[in-house]
C-alpha cells in the first residue's frame, strides 16, 4: 500500500511541472495588466508602473519567470501575491479550510441524499415513483447553482429570515462555545443546501442506474429465493454493491470541489479558493492563480488515491487482487 501511495506521489511531480508551464503560458497569452488593476480605471503614472514592475519582476523574460518559479516551488515558495500583499501559500492555507469545510459538509449531506433517492427510484416496483424521482432529480440537477443559491437566499434568508444571506460568519459576534458553533452553522446552512441539492441529484442518478444494474445480478435472485425480505436485500446486498460507481464519481467531484465552487462561493460570498480564483484572474494576480490551480490538482490526485483505497475496502475482490 505504501509503495502504491509513493508511486502516486511520484506521478504528481511531472504533472505539477506541466501545470506550471501550461498556466504560465496561458496567463502570458491573455492580455492583462496587473499594474492597471492596482490603479483602477485611471491612467497609471509611469513612475508607479516602473516601481511595481521592478519590485515584482513583471518584465523578466518569460522563460526566466517560469524557471524562477519552478525553482521557488521546489523550495516550497509559491510566490508573492501582489494583489493581496502576502505570500500565495499563506493565502491558500487560509482560504482552503473554508472551501474544504463547505465541500465536506456539502458532501456529507449530498451522498446520503443521493443514495436514498437512487435506491428508492431504483428498487421501486411502481414506474410512477421511479419517474417522479428521476425527473425531479434531473430538474434539480439542471438548475444552475447560482440561481438555486439565489432562490434559497430569497426564501430562507429574506422571506423567513432563518439564515443570513451571505458570508462565512458574523462580523460582530458575542457568541461563545456551543452558541458560536450554532452561529457558524447558520452561515453554512444555505450554501451547503445548494451544494447538496446539486451534487446529490447527480449522485442520485448514478446510484439509481447502479442499483438497477445490481438488481439483475444472480446473487440478488438467490437472496430473493432464500426468502430474504426486501429491506434485508437492500441493506445487505444492494447498498454496498451499488456504491462502487458512486464512490468513484463522488471522489472525483470532491477533489474538484476542493478547488473551490466558484459560482457557489460568489453567490454566498464564501471567501474560499473559488472567490480567490475569480478575483485573481480578474486582477491578473498570476502567481495566485497558478497556486490555486496547483492546489486543486493536488486535491484531485489525493482524492483519487483515497478513492482507490476506499474501493479496496468496499470490494473484497479488489482487496485480495491487490
Amino acid at each position: 500500500m505504501l509503495r502504491f501511495i509513493l508511486q502516486r506521489a511520484l506521478y504528481a511531480l511531472p504533472l505539477i511541472f506541466v501545470i506550471i508551464v501550461v498556466m504560465f503560458t496561458l496567463l502570458h497569452l491573455i492580455p492583462g495588466d496587473p499594474v492597471q488593476s492596482l490603479v483602477g480605471d485611471y491612467p497609471v503614472p509611469p513612475a508607479y508602473r516602473a516601481v511595481i514592475e521592478e519590485k515584482y519582476r513583471l518584465n523578466d523574460p518569460f522563460v526566466v519567470q517560469v524557471g524562477n518559479y519552478v525553482v521557488a516551488v521546489l523550495h516550497g515558495d509559491f510566490g508573492f501575491s501582489y494583489q493581496n500583499q502576502r505570500p500565495v501559500l499563506d493565502l491558500i492555507l487560509e482560504r482552503a479550510p473554508r472551501t474544504i469545510l463547505l465541500a465536506s459538509v456539502g458532501f456529507a449531506f449530498a451522498i446520503p441524499l443521493g443514495m436514498a433517492i437512487g435506491v428508492v427510484a431504483g428498487t421501486t416496483r411502481n414506474p410512477g415513483t421511479d419517474k417522479f424521482w428521476t425527473t425531479s432529480a434531473l430538474i434539480a440537477y439542471a438548475i444552475p447553482t447560482f440561481w438555486l443559491g439565489q432562490l434559497l437566499v430569497m426564501l430562507f434568508a429574506l422571506r423567513f429570515g432563518w439564515f443570513p444571506t451571505q458570508g462565512i460568519g458574523p462580523l460582530i459576534s458575542r457568541a461563545h462555545g456551543f452558541d458560536w458553533l450554532l452561529e457558524k452553522a447558520r452561515y453554512l446552512a444555505l450554501p451547503v443546501l445548494a451544494f447538496a441539492i446539486h451534487e446529490g441529484m447527480r449522485f442520485a442518478r448514478i446510484m439509481r442506474a447502479s442499483v438497477i444494474d445490481t438488481l439483475s445480478q444472480g446473487y440478488i435472485v438467490t437472496a430473493r429465493a432464500k426468502g430474504l425480505s426486501r429491506g434485508q436485500i437492500i441493506r445487505n446486498h444492494i447498498l454496498r454493491n451499488s456504491s462502487l460507481p458512486l464512490v468513484t464519481i463522488a471522489g472525483y467531484s470532491f477533489g474538484s470541489a476542493l478547488g473551490g465552487a466558484v459560482l457557489l462561493e460568489t453567490v454566498f460570498t464564501w471567501p474560499g479558493l473559488g472567490l480567490l480564483m475569480v478575483d485573481s484572474i480578474r486582477l491578473r494576480d498570476n502567481l495566485t492563480v497558478i497556486g490555486v490551480v496547483i492546489f486543486s490538482a493536488l486535491a484531485v490526485i489525493v482524492m483519487n488515491l483515497i478513492v482507490d483505497i476506499l474501493y479496496a475496502l468496499l470490494d473484497p475482490r479488489i482487496r485480495t487482487a491487490g
Binding site: I30, P31, G32, L38, V39, P45, Q166, T266, T269
Partner: protein
C-alpha cells in the same frame, strides 16, 4: 426638483426627531470586492479603497453640498495674484492615529513621495517648482506656471495625507502601511480578515472635537451586487452603494422601512460615452461621426438602461461643474435623435445603403452592467440606419488592452467618472494621447487647437474659466472624437437606524459618507 424638495423635507424632519448624538455602536458597510490590493488612495483610484479611505484618511480640504470648499486640515489658504504660489495654513494640535504630531513636513513629504505615483496629479507634478514647509503649520507650493485646478487637487479624496514618520526613507509604493494605514481620519485601522472584512475603530486622536460617535466601522467585502442588496435587506449591513441597475430594486425593497435610498445631489460626474477610432475608416469622416451621434436615442438609454435615473449628456463639460458648464452648447438640440438626418449625412459622406447595409463596424465593451446594456442599445440604433454592428463584449483587462494599449478597435463604450474638476477626469478623453496610457483618449484625436484651449482653461482665473470651457465644449461638439451619451445619478442605501444622515451626506463630488457624523441610537447599538 420634486426629489430635491422631498429630500430637504426629510432632512428637516430628521433633525427634529434625532436629538443629541450618542456615542457607541458599530456600523457595517459593504464594499464591492473581496480583494483590495491597497488601501492607500494616493496609489489607487479603485472604488473600494476610496470608500475605505473615508474612515481612516483625511486631507487639506473637501466640499460642501453646494460644491464650496470646506477646510479640513488646512484652516485657510491663499493664492498669490500671479496664480503661482499657494500658501496653506494648517490646523494646530492635530495628531496622526498613532499619536505622532501632524506638521507641514508631512504635507511636503506626501507630495514629494507620493505625487509621482498619484494618477490625479500627473498634470500638476511637472508644474511644481517647490513644495516647502517654512514652519510647522504652513505649507507653501510654488508652481512654474498657474494651474487653476490646483486647489481641487488637494481635496481629501484626491490627495489624502500620509505620515512622514511611517514612510520616510522606505519604498512607499509597496510599503506595508499601505494595507495597514496610519492616517488622520475619524477611525483607525484595526484588522483585516482576508476576503471577509476590514475593521476600523475610533481614532482617539481625531482632530474634530467629540467625534466620531461610533465605536467602529466594519467594511464587509461582498463582490456580488445582488448579495450587497440582500445583505442590507437581511439587516446584515448598514450601508451600500447600489449599482445603477439596482437602484429601482433597492427603492422597492426600501419600502419595508428598514433602510432608505438616498440620492447624492451633487455627485461626481459619471458619463457613459462611445469612443470612436479616428484613425480608421469610416470614422475619419466627421460627417459619419455626426451621423452616428444623430442615430442614438440617448433619452432611451437614460430610460431603459439607467431606468430614468440620469439625464442625457449636454456637452463635453458635465453639468455638475455648475461654474464651468455652459448651456449654449447642448447636444439635445445640436445632435437631437434623428435617424433620417443620420441617414442623409451618411449618404453625403459616401456610405449609401447597399442591400440594406452601409458598412460594418465592431463595437467593443466590458462585459459588465451597465456598459453592456448601453452598447446593446447603441448597436440596435445604429443597425436601424443600416450599419452592421458587431458587438464584442470582453473581460475588462482584455478590453483595456484592445482599446487603449493596442488601439485595435472601431468604437468602444465605457462610463467615465469626472471627479471634482475637468482636469481630473474630463480632459483625459480629448487631450492628445500619443502613448498607450489606458483610460485616456484612445481615439487618435490630436488637435493642438483643442489642447491649447484645455491648457488655457485650466490656467485661467476662476472668473474667466467658464468662457474657456465653452470654447472647449464647442470644439468637441464639432469634432466628436467621443460621443457623450448620458450623465447618471448616484444613490446610496443606508439603514434607518443610522442617524444624522443629513450631515453625513452633506458634501459634493465624492459620493462618500462622512462617517465621523454618523451615530446609532443607544438602544440599537
Amino acid at each position: 426638483m420634486l426629489l430635491a424638495s422631498a429630500l430637504s423635507a426629510y432632512a428637516l424632519g430628521a433633525s427634529a426627531e434625532e436629538g443629541q448624538p450618542v456615542d457607541g455602536g458599530t456600523v457595517i458597510a459593504a464594499l464591492n470586492s473581496t480583494t483590495i490590493p491597497t488601501l492607500n488612495t494616493q496609489l489607487t483610484s479603485s472604488v473600494p479603497a476610496l470608500f475605505a479611505a473615508d474612515v481612516w484618511a483625511d486631507g487639506l480640504m473637501t466640499y460642501d453640498r453646494d460644491g464650496k470648499r470646506l477646510p479640513r486640515l488646512a484652516t485657510s489658504w491663499e493664492t498669490s495674484p500671479d496664480g503661482k504660489t499657494y500658501a496653506f495654513t494648517l490646523r494646530e494640535g492635530v495628531k496622526w492615529s498613532d499619536g505622532q504630531p501632524f506638521t507641514a513636513e508631512d504635507v511636503v513629504f506626501t507630495l514629494n513621495s507620493f505625487g509621482k505615483f498619484n494618477t490625479y496629479l500627473t498634470k500638476l507634478m511637472p508644474l511644481i517648482e517647490e513644495a516647502s514647509a517654512p514652519d510647522a503649520k504652513t505649507f507653501v507650493l510654488k508652481l512654474k506656471q498657474p494651474l487653476t485646478a490646483t486647489l481641487d487637487l488637494f481635496d481629501k479624496e484626491v490627495f489624502p495625507l500620509m505620515p512622514k514618520h511611517i514612510y520616510d526613507g522606505q519604498d512607499v509604493a509597496t510599503h506595508p502601511a499601505n494595507i495597514a494605514p496610519v492616517g488622520l481620519g475619524p477611525f483607525k485601522f484595526e484588522s483585516w480578515q482576508s476576503g471577509q472584512s476590514i475593521t476600523f475603530v475610533r481614532n482617539e486622536n481625531y482632530w474634530e472635537e467629540g467625534k466620531p460617535h461610533l465605536d467602529s466601522v466594519i467594511f464587509a467585502l461582498i463582490p456580488n451586487p445582488q448579495q450587497r442588496l440582500n445583505a442590507i435587506i437581511g439587516g446584515e449591513v448598514n450601508w451600500f452603494r447600489p449599482e445603477v441597475a439596482q437602484v429601482r430594486a433597492s427603492q422597492d425593497a426600501a419600502e419595508s422601512g428598514k433602510f432608505k435610498v438616498v440620492q447624492i445631489v451633487n455627485n461626481a460626474p459619471e458619463t457613459s460615452v462611445v469612443d470612436l477610432n479616428l484613425t480608421r475608416e469610416p470614422f475619419k469622416n466627421v460627417k459619419v461621426r455626426q451621423a452616428l451621434f444623430h442615430a442614438i436615442d440617448r433619452e432611451r438609454i437614460v430610460q431603459d438602461v439607467y431606468m430614468g435615473l440620469g439625464a442625457t449628456a449636454k456637452n463635453a463639460i458635465p453639468t455638475q461643474f455648475k461654474n464651468l458648464h455652459d448651456t449654449s452648447v447642448n447636444y439635445d438640440t445640436l445632435y437631437a435623435y434623428d435617424p433620417e438626418k443620420a441617414g442623409k449625412l451618411l449618404d453625403e459622406a459616401g456610405y449609401p445603403l447597399k442591400d440594406g447595409k452601409r458598412f460594418t463596424i465592431e463595437l467593443t465593451v466590458i462585459a459588465k452592467a451597465p456598459y453592456d446594456a448601453v452598447a446593446q442599445v447603441v448597436q440596435s440604433q445604429w443597425s436601424a440606419i443600416g450599419i452592421d454592428v458587431k458587438l464584442s463584449t470582453l473581460d475588462q483587462q482584455i478590453w483595456t488592452n484592445k482599446v487603449y494599449t493596442e488601439r485595435n478597435f472601431d468604437a468602444s463604450v465605457i462610463s467615465l467618472t469626472g471627479r471634482t474638476n475637468p482636469v481630473l477626469g474630463v480632459d483625459r478623453s480629448f487631450v492628445c494621447n500619443e502613448g498607450s496610457v489606458p483610460y485616456a483618449n484612445p481615439t487618435g484625436y490630436c488637435n493642438p487647437e483643442f489642447d491649447k484651449v484645455a491648457l488655457d482653461a485650466s490656467a485661467a482665473p476662476l472668473a474667466e474659466q467658464k468662457e474657456h470651457y465653452r470654447k472647449y465644449a464647442e470644439i468637441i461638439a464639432r469634432d466628436l472624437n467621443q460621443l457623450q451619451l448620458t450623465n447618471s445619478q448616484v444613490y446610496e442605501a443606508v439603514t434607518t437606524n443610522l442617524q444624522n444622515l443629513d450631515a453625513q451626506f452633506n458634501f459634493s463630488f465624492n459620493t462618500h459618507p462622512n462617517w465621523a457624523e454618523a451615530w446609532l441610537p443607544a438602544d440599537q447599538q
